[in-house]
Symmetry: none
Subunit: 200 residues, 4 copies
Amino acid sequence: MAVSTGERVRRAAVKLFATKGFHGTGIRDLAQAAKLSSASLYHYMGTKEELLAGIMRDCLRRLLDDATDAVDGVADPVERIRRLVTLHVTAHARQPNETRVVDDHIDVLSPRLRREVVQLRDAYERLWSDTIEAGRKEGVFDTGQPAVTRIAVLDMCNGVARWYSPRGALTLRQVADHHVELTLRALGVHTPARCGLANS
Amino acid sequence: MAVSTGERVRRAAVKLFATKGFHGTGIRDLAQAAKLSSASLYHYMGTKEELLAGIMRDCLRRLLDDATDAVDGVADPVERIRRLVTLHVTAHARQPNETRVVDDHIDVLSPRLRREVVQLRDAYERLWSDTIEAGRKEGVFDTGQPAVTRIAVLDMCNGVARWYSPRGALTLRQVADHHVELTLRALGVHTPARCGLANS
Amino acid sequence: MAVSTGERVRRAAVKLFATKGFHGTGIRDLAQAAKLSSASLYHYMGTKEELLAGIMRDCLRRLLDDATDAVDGVADPVERIRRLVTLHVTAHARQPNETRVVDDHIDVLSPRLRREVVQLRDAYERLWSDTIEAGRKEGVFDTGQPAVTRIAVLDMCNGVARWYSPRGALTLRQVADHHVELTLRALGVHTPARCGLANS
Amino acid sequence: MAVSTGERVRRAAVKLFATKGFHGTGIRDLAQAAKLSSASLYHYMGTKEELLAGIMRDCLRRLLDDATDAVDGVADPVERIRRLVTLHVTAHARQPNETRVVDDHIDVLSPRLRREVVQLRDAYERLWSDTIEAGRKEGVFDTGQPAVTRIAVLDMCNGVARWYSPRGALTLRQVADHHVELTLRALGVHTPARCGLANS
DNA sequence: GATGAATGAGCATTCATTCAT
DNA sequence: AATGAATGAATGCTCATTCAT
């Protein structure tokens, strides 16, 4: 199935921004990767910065929507966190470039464009903090520094985008499960099969 | 106590590279921050890239040396990992800019300059993997994916450089201890005071 | 008749390189002479050095082609040398800048770009040495050092580019004829009207 | 025997100006070649341009003095030209760098510094034109364009600096003699041993 | 006599962007 | 929809030169 030119531009941008960084990517690099002249590029984007902001916005919106759906109606904090981690890790493994662009470029945006992106990111992180807080209140999570733990867990899961390969030794399922496990341990959840005993 | 001009250049570079990125930092930004003309800058550095590589090399060398000292003669894997985490977190909290430069810019370096930096980083990470492996062999660590866990723990600890403030709610001691705790949990170490019970 | 912008750039370069030298000509000088911004210049050239190499290559190629045509089918060494000198002097008188650029800048080129230029120059000079050699074999040229004589004659003819003016006392015809005469004398050809007697 | 620092500077400059050109030679190149810091260089020279002018001036002065001595008291135009050519070729073969600097850099000098150099050069060339004129008046030289011939002969002899090597096939004596021969032929002098007959 | 430090001006080249076609 | 042409501003870096030590 053919891909529209605008989509080709966006994909080129995602790949280049992720690997070379926003400032390390020139408009000519983008044009070449999108097989367009640099002038034509401007039919499909505003400025280079708006292109970046658009990518970040869409990626975060999708993540937020998916996460909202995933935990919708789920009350159990353990199950909620399980789903959040799985979704987060899956997204980072499947779209490593998009997620790396999102995770690494917030400071690059000028205030005007940053606002919306930050709002989306905060809304997304609130899903996590709310869940962690709920688990603490219910006594199923045991962590002295919930905010720090949340950041730590997210950083840990973000890292997947930098090393996971579908051709690697681990399946995506295994990686996701492992991070669920790590997260539950970080949150002090007593996973019975594991209390101090066998290797997985 | 006076600071040498060369040191001033390096400090300016550390701050700017950390906050704006290598490609986002111009030679004129550096000059202004170091209170020098851009021409004078070149008395104290080679190229901009060599300046970056020098910063990364020194920071990693210090970290590697300190870590080597810290675990020297310590046999117990739990104690070793405790020290590694404490040192790592402390470095990231005290020199957030240096460590962010190191953590974010390896891909920026050209092959020639990257080599040495990668060697240092690998030597440092080997301290971690060796320790984790030893703990697994002794049966005190319980993790199905030691390599993934190592990366996860390092990413988690690296994050400290992005949010810790000496003027924040937590002392450096508390942050370090918390990350030791998180790490031990990730490694499946049964910390008695915590097996499923009280908040810290 | 209008001149294309690319041609304007090339002409400006020829004039400036000839009069101020390659290193003495800045990109801004070129831009000003070509009535373009220095950035626009780069739509019409690669690097400054490639511009130079292109000029040299084209000039030499034309000279080589013209000389090849001029002596094509001509067997008599005296007539051949007559034509080579006439063509060479004419080219140096009519395009003094191009030829000066060619004659003065071979050492400026980096190896990559020098190769082709040197090949063309050598092919051109081979026309001369082959002709001189043939004349010697036939006994019509009398010179003890044919290689040195060839260089001497070429240097002598090259000089025309530095002083000839269409508004000067001598016509191009006269200058060419005079150099033919000088060359034949250098080659020891006995021009009857002249064996030691009258002024021309 | 030791060479003074000032002399070392001058020699470095001669070599570099000759091979890379004035504009192609940086002050740092000079300093490196003279084994001095670039600041120290300025103890031994004025500006870079004055260094160039000094070299040209001295070289021309020596040439002029030597040539004046060489023809002093010699009346016969043939003998005079013989001596001028021998001296000129010898100088160009023995000091190829100095003479190339002189021959190639007159246009580089600013008016102030150019004046004296041009005067010396003109005085030197007057020795040649006076001699040629005298020969013509006496009927021993036969050339229709004495001025053009003078330039041609000088260009021809200058070329020696670009190819002569003491390790080459020809001795300096042979090269000088050959150029004397070429010059006499150009001036239409009937050298008996040669009138149309054997190879040398 | 020698140099490290310093710099304003300049270098060739690339930047992101616009616009007429 | 697409691009060649164009540019002001900026890029990293080097220039020749000065001066305090």
